[in-house]
Amino acid sequence: MKIPFSYIFRNLWTRKLTTILTAAGMGLVVFVFSAVLMLDAGLKKTMVGTGSLDNVLAIRTGSETEIQSGITRDQAGLLGAMPQVARSKSGDPMVSKESLVLISLTKSGQEKGSNVVARGVSPMGITLRPQVKLIEGRMFRPGSSELVVGRNINREFNGAEIGQSLRFAQRDWVIVGVFDGGGSAFDSEIWGDVEQLMQAFRRLNYSSVIMQLAQQDSFESLLKEIAAEVRLTLDVKREQIFYEDQSRALSTFISILGNVLTVIFSIGAIIGAAITMYSSVAMRTAEIGTLRALGFRRPSILVAFLGESLLLGLVGGLAGLFFASFLQAITISTLNFQSFSQLAFSFTLTPKIVVQTLVFSMFMGFVGGFLPAMRAARMKIVDSLRAA
């Protein structure tokens, strides 16, 4: 590039107000753009963190979610006996038979109830989720009407403190502990003893069975074995994939909403950038003519004005990202309509989002600046010099 960067930079700097206003417009779009990506990234992180690669989850064929599924005791027993399933030191299969029910709790400051997942787990269920850690109180005792609650439940809902009890299924359930699910969807769940929950809700079947693989790569052979067993009409997925799939609809919804907003807003920002750059070209017509007379060629002029516009986009992008980064402090709690239950996740800024956002903002600068830069580059020298 022949025209010095300082020329490009200082031309933006001398028009501070116009530059700031134009960059602010772009920054706003970038804010929305990155906020949506951060929301989606937060959701994915939560869902992916919920599942472990070693674990395999089985539900009844055709049911999308654990809630809709049913697995009989016989089927669960067959699964536990599979050779691919890991065994504990004492020789027990590393399997958790689980039952999910939705209960309605009220959030602090709200009147209407929200659906919350109550998950009955086998004693092994806790071992199978190493990311889940008790942070307060103690674990529920097997065979009792005790519960532990995820930290989001503890924080957001009424009556979810240790020592308080929740009434559902004609029983009082005492909360004895709070656990941290490491940012996973478990943070928005309540856990208790699977047999107690099934008794109270008069259920005969489990919802799902979680198994740990003895070897990560034995997944395929487990699939084959299950398919060959006529009594097992089950869908089997790696736990991580299962939870990722669970958030797909919500993730798609967020992306579509975000893209629509971004496209609408960005048209405005691009027009803003184009107007700014057109006026910049118009004000500097004689300068352009002078540069050309001195021997700078058309492409140099094009690059200088495009560079100015790209820089404008970059400034807007950095500003938008800066403000968007504060969103990370916010946790969103919303309904995952695929599982009909509450799910809490945070805006998450990843390096990939930073790059995507800056590329996007410079793209806006490029599109907005292209026609003005072309106009600058195409002017005839004598005509632009006469504009002085």
Binding site: P4, A286, L291, L294, G295, R297, I381, V382, L385
Partner: protein, 230 residues
Amino acid sequence: MGNTLVEIKNLVKTYTRGDQEVPVLRDITLSIDRGDFISLMGPSGSGKSTLLNLIAGIDKPTAGILRIDGEDISRLSEGQLADWRASNIGFIFQFYNLMPVLTAYENVELPLLLTNLSKAERKERIEMTLNMVGLSDRMDHYPNELSGGQQQRVAIARAIVTDPTILVCDEPTGDLDKQSASDVLGMLKQLNQELGKTIIMVTHDVHAAEAAKRIVHLEKGELLGEVTSP
């Protein structure tokens, strides 16, 4: 004549405005020697700037011959012409045409960015040239921090820093007070006499024209007579 630098024969320039053809230069024949200092005079609209622009290679003739240093510049491509200007022509404008966001130093550096000179070599040249026009103490000033006369001196420095063969000046004193104007003219004379620069200057001002060795009159796109001073 081996000493002819600019050779113009039957030069015609016509602008088209809509369907209308506007003849601006009708049939110009003129030759300018190496080391000459020539003034182009004439009423407004007579085609002085147009002729100057053709010689400077920023506009193309409609017909006729235009050879500079033996080279037919009307046959150069646009890119070649840009390079040709960068190494052969120094421009001085009525309104200085400095880049307002660049300092005096950086303005003078601009044409050197089109050469292969290193940063250190550029620095040496720029400082020497700004010293020649008496502005060594104003190198870091922006144009709006300089008087009109000082700005025109920066522009002169920018025009000569690449050591071009020809200086083209369109009303170089048109925007200056008497004192600054005579400073600028003195400087042009000096460049002509001491460094042997060929100077072609368009001017309205008779006093300014007298700085030149030759004065050529244009009217309605045609050359009238010529006055040569000893």
